[in-house]
Symmetry: C2
Subunit: 192 residues, 2 copies
């Protein structure tokens, strides 16, 4: 079955669950035999944006590069999954306008929950004023106004978030629903 490309654009604070939900999607997409590519913030900083910092200008450049790769993949019928903080609304909207087939997923989690989890120990430092340009604490985060999907990662599992994204994609015709297995059984020959 032929596949049409589109971009799933995750946005959200550090530690909110963008990469974790991407990993669950990765498994589900893999099971369906889909062609997709995850552009994780860290991966991209290694391959495309080494040397860039975290000023507004450098962040914008980084996100524009991710957007360009998503655009190239999307027009070649690959599903691109961007999973970077992407804090600025205007740059996300620019990516949406360029790419066209664009599903914005807001990975939402209250900052006090993130500070409590603090997987990388960054929130503690940022809240103590030791980290400049830390999104949500010492740097702005502009939440999407009309995201296609919102994941509430303080109240739902990554599996549940990924399932809701899949449901959205199937409902909107972005993905073909899986054929149910064992649902449509061959009709028994009538015995008389």
């Amino acid at each position: 079955m032929s596949q049409t490309g589109f971009t799933i654009w995750f946005t959200g604070l550090s530690g909110a669950g963008k990469s974790t939900i991407s990993s669950v999607l990765e498994r589900k997409f893999h099971e369906r035999g889909l062609k997709f590519e995850i552009l994780d913030g860290d991966v991209v900083r290694t391959h495309l944006s080494k040397g860039l910092g975290f000023s507004k200008e450098d962040r914008d450049t980084n996100i524009r590069r991710i957007g360009w790769v998503c655009e190239v993949l999307t027009r070649n019928d690959v599903i691109a999954i961007a999973a970077a903080i992407s804090p600025y609304r205007d740059i996300r909207d620019e990516a949406r306008a360029r790419i066209g087939r664009f599903v914005e997923v807001y990975v939402q989690c209250p900052i006090d929950v993130l500070a409590e989890r603090d997987v990388k120990g960054l929130y503690k430092k940022a809240l103590a004023g030791e980290l400049k340009n830390f999104t949500g604490v010492s740097d702005p985060y502009e939440a999407p106004l009309n995201p296609e999907v919102v994941c509430y990662t303080d109240r739902e599992t990554p599996e549940a978030s990924a399932t809701r994204i899949l449901n959205f994609l199937e409902a909107g015709g972005w993905l073909h629903p899986l054929n149910g297995r064992g649902v449509s059984e061959p009709q028994a020959v009538a015995q008389s």
Copy 2:
């Protein structure tokens, strides 16, 4: 018919004909309904490498970024066409090793012919010592040792070069040969 990804990696001096041959390939690939993407040196410098210069280090970074995008496209069954000078052998070989399915095309043209054509007026300046880091004049160019295809653009048309590349791709099983049209005609019903 399903398509397998690979990378066509053009290398050669400025003005040798990399972009011109790519454009001919573009038309031929388009006619065949193939999925492909041309990563032209100038396009990439706009989208991926703004701010990088022409030192060995910056050139290497630029080529590595092109290589990474080619790798991502190739593994998603898209044909990637890189058309940048890519003067250093080690970085091209690094791209080959990472990408795997890699066809190196050396676009060869003697420098005196290039200086005579001098489409962009750059050779004159470089030969007069006015351009630093100009490949082939004031900066090194390391020709490939075992390229899959060599195009001799001082002696063949871009159409001829592109046809030889296509022939190589078909011969090596990278591309399916086009079905000849009108060759296999329906058998006439025998009249008696």
